[in-house]
């Protein structure tokens, strides 16, 4: 399933906690309502992104997994 997005961030190959830190920086630089597409290969990135969006209040619009590659769509909500 494809989602519309405004900006893309590739965190492939990066280990914890870098995908979270880079996602935070990217989302902070976006406008309210914009969506970030973030790609990660860290196997822990799904629970981490879920926890991060839950704590920060940003919205995980959707995510996909394909052969160890995770794609997240995160909307800036505040």
């Amino acid at each position: 399933m494809a989602f519309n997005f405004d900006q893309e961030l590739d965190c492939s190959g990066l280990a914890c906690p870098m995908p979270i830190l880079k996602t935070k920086k990217a989302v902070d630089g976006m406008q309210l309502g914009q969506v970030l597409k973030m790609i990660a290969t860290d196997p822990g990135s799904l629970p981490d992104i879920q926890a991060w969006t839950s704590k920060t209040g940003h919205e995980l619009v959707g995510h996909e997994e394909d052969a160890g590659k995770f794609t997240f769509y995160i909307k800036r909500t505040k």
């Binding site: 280990a15 906690p17 830190l21 996602t23 935070k24 926890a51 991060w52 920060t56």
Partner: protein, 159 residues
Amino acid sequence: MAKRMAIISTHGTLDAGYPPLILATAAVAMDMEVAIFFTFYGLEIIKKGNADKLQVSPIANPAMPQPIPGISVPNIIGMLPGMTAVATNMMNGWMKKANVAKLSELLEIAVESGVRIIACQMSMDVMGIKKEDLIDGVEVAGAAAFIEFAADDAVALTF
């Protein structure tokens, strides 16, 4: 839900340097206020240019994987000269292979993202460490300054 994380870092080794910095940077990315109190050997982590020079000791560290898979080396071998360097190279190799950020990078991100880096005044005096020996952005303070931060409903962690 707690809004603050208060971390105490007391060990100046490569393996002990990671948890406080990983948790601090992740917590600040989750909109928490974070302070790390670096005391005694923990100060080694925040000495200028020192974060990537920290070592890990194989002595009394039986959890450390064997240098040659399948061959069990007695732990006492770790006391031989040069074994700390061997263990440190091994660990740096694993971290690099797994693409884990260097300690210096995590420290830089921590400072940039507003983690309070508090250096223990008393430890500095005991160990002869000056403020100018430490990275920029450090606050030098005592236990009370850290406790004032931590007392405000913080998650407190010690490493």
